[in-house]
């Protein structure tokens, strides 16, 4: 069982992870190079815990104990007692490679170094280390505090023991897991692609309109939401960014080519519910 977790990066993801792990009883060394950002993140965690207390989902005692378990750190060497270090930095391959190189030097030989990247190659990140067998990806599906699933991404050199310990950690914090190879989009983003792209091609070919396709997918396929409702909710800009990353990381494989309709919508600012218009209109939502 993991007793000491290191978290690198005090953005929304890092703070969410610290919150979840501390509530699960894990001692968290919470690192950010910027002390101000770190303090702000701790305040956010405190506020969120208090909300959970008010909602009755967490007791006052458990919230207080969780806060006690989060230790602010501004030097990487202070993560040296961690069994797993979870990197939650921005999606920049050079930054991550540099970070992993330093993390390897500053932590125990047995420490697992995990990245939460959603688009970068774990094998590429691991190439900056001397022990790529202990480098792994932990891709959280959904907001981190309410994640539905963790994709455990095995780099080319990641060993079984690293994967096993990550499965154990994920279970301990209450998440189901799947294990995937280091392939662009991992599993969920890649396998969701036809659910978004094929309907776009169908409306492009005027076989059916967006409303019809959503009705068909719900009534015939049993989907809780149609593809166009889902895209509008998620934001078409976000969907397009994922599609473009997949297309690029698959070196232009035609199956992943983003549809021009999606690009046109984003260019026109019709990015979904948040903009008041996407494939459907949301007159009450427009800011």
């Amino acid at each position: 069982m993991v007793k000491h977790l290191g978290i690198v990066g005090a953005g929304a993801m890092g703070a969410g992870m610290a919150h979840v792990a501390a509530l699960a009883g894990i001692e968290v060394a919470f690192y950010d190079i910027n002390g101000t950002i770190l303090r702000q993140a701790l305040e956010r965690i405190k506020t969120n815990l208090m909300r959970e207390v008010a909602a009755g989902t967490v007791t006052q005692e458990n919230a207080a104990a969780a806060l006690e378990r989060i230790h602010a750190r501004t030097r990487l060497i202070e993560l040296n007692s961690s069994e797993i270090v979870l990197e939650c930095a921005i999606e920049d391959i050079r930054l991550k490679k540099d970070l992993f190189k330093h993390l390897e030097a500053d932590t125990k030989p047995s420490t697992i170094l995990a990245s939460t990247t959603s688009t970068l190659s774990i094998t590429a990140i691991a190439s900056a280390t001397r022990h790529p067998e202990k480098v792994v990806g932990l891709h959280f599906i959904g907001p981190i505090r309410t994640a539905r699933l963790i994709e455990i991404v095995r780099g080319e050199e990641t060993n079984e023991e690293t994967v096993r310990r990550c499965v154990e950690f994920a279970r301990f914090i209450g998440n189901p897991t799947v294990v995937t190879g280091d392939s662009p989009g991992f599993l969920v983003d890649r396998l969701s692609q036809p659910f978004f792209d094929e309907p776009l091609r169908i409306i492009g070919e005027k076989i059916a309109d967006a409303g019809q396709i959503d009705r068909i997918m719900k009534a015939v396929g049993g989907f809780p939401q149609g593809p166009f409702e889902t895209m509008d909710e998620a934001g078409l800009d976000s969907i397009l960014a994922t599609r473009e990353a997949l297309f690029s990381n698959f070196a232009g494989e035609p199956r992943f080519r983003p549809h021009p309709i999606l690009k046109h919508k984003v260019t026109a600012g019709a990015t979904g519910r948040k903009a008041g218009q996407g494939f459907f209109k949301y007159p009450d939502e427009k800011s």
Binding site: V178, E198, P199, I202, P254, R255
Partner: protein, 279 residues
């Protein structure tokens, strides 16, 4: 010609009365779909006669007084369903026989996920009577069916078809007559991508399904869906789309083609990551 069609279609409205024991639905096609639609129609009061050319001997488990086998369509058929997706030569023979034997007033709804309804209509003399539909195994229970009128279909035929499907508890969604229609096309592409992922050995079949049911909140994973619908059906839709559109994106995963030929899948035989990493 138009006024004749109007007249004959009016006569056909009698099939909208499911309680009418004289209303006969004739179903011909591939086994799982024929059985599903036979049970659906008989459950709504129709007398069903069916023919499965691929299973020509022995009693089928779903046969009863209300559902009987008959290789030649009876002339008193009120409504005909042709449900073949894989063997298109057989489909053509089935449609030609239906068109030859059935009165010119009887509508035919034919699955059009692997060949367009318009092309099918061009195989028969009474082109106006045929309308396409989205039929794949296990979809018969859905409350909606995709209907694709052909370039020959008059509005009357579509109305009759709508009335028939309402009588068996289904709404219709009218879509353009293209191979794969909407749901079968999207579903088969999702299965195809999963087959590519399996081929690349990036995850176990179980993890692929878990990723999509839990991670993407899909009602079923692509492997489970392929098993339900049938690999040969999925492969037939993909092959037809690829042939029709000439689009590289529609290329079926080689592994899927091989599995379809052997009619087998992994059947979830490989352990999931949860099982593999349990102590």
């Amino acid at each position: 010609m138009k006024s004749k069609k109007l007249t004959v279609k009016k006569k056909q409205t009698r099939i909208t009365k499911p309680a009418d024991a004289s209303a006969v639905v004739y179903i011909v096609g591939e086994a799982p779909m024929v059985e599903e639609y036979a049970l659906l129609c008989s459950g709504r009061g129709y007398r069903v006669l069916f023919h499965c050319p691929q299973m020509n001997s022995g009693k089928m488990p779903f046969e009863s007084k209300a559902i009987q086998r008959q290789s030649r369509p009876p002339v008193n058929t009120s409504f005909a369903l042709e449900l073949t997706n894989v063997d298109l030569e057989q489909k053509r023979r089935n449609l030609e026989l239906l068109d030859k034997v059935l009165p010119a007033t009887t509508a035919i709804v034919s699955s059009s996920v692997t060949v367009s309804a318009t092309e099918q209509a061009s195989w028969i003399k009474h082109t106006y009577r045929l309308v396409g539909c989205g039929a794949l195994p296990t979809l018969s229970g859905a409350p909606l069916i995709e209907i694709a009128p052909t370039v020959f279909s008059p509005a009357e035929t579509v109305r009759i078809v709508q009335t028939f499907f309402r009588s068996v508890g289904k709404e219709i969604e009218l879509v353009q007559d293209r191979i794969g229609l909407v749901f079968p096309r999207i579903l088969c592409q999702m299965v195809n991508e999963a087959a590519f992922a399996l081929q690349e050995e990036i995850a176990s079949p179980q993890d692929l399904d878990t990723a999509m049911t839990i991670g993407a909140r899909f009602p079923a994973g692509p492997i489970a869906w392929a098993e339900k619908v049938g690999l040969r059906q999925v492969q037939a839709v993909l092959q037809a789309l690829w042939k029709d559109l000439g689009d590289e994106r529609m290329r079926g995963a080689p592994l899927l083609r091989q599995m379809a030929l052997s009619s087998s899948w992994w059947k979830h035989s490989q352990p999931s990551s949860e099982e593999r990493h349990s102590r």
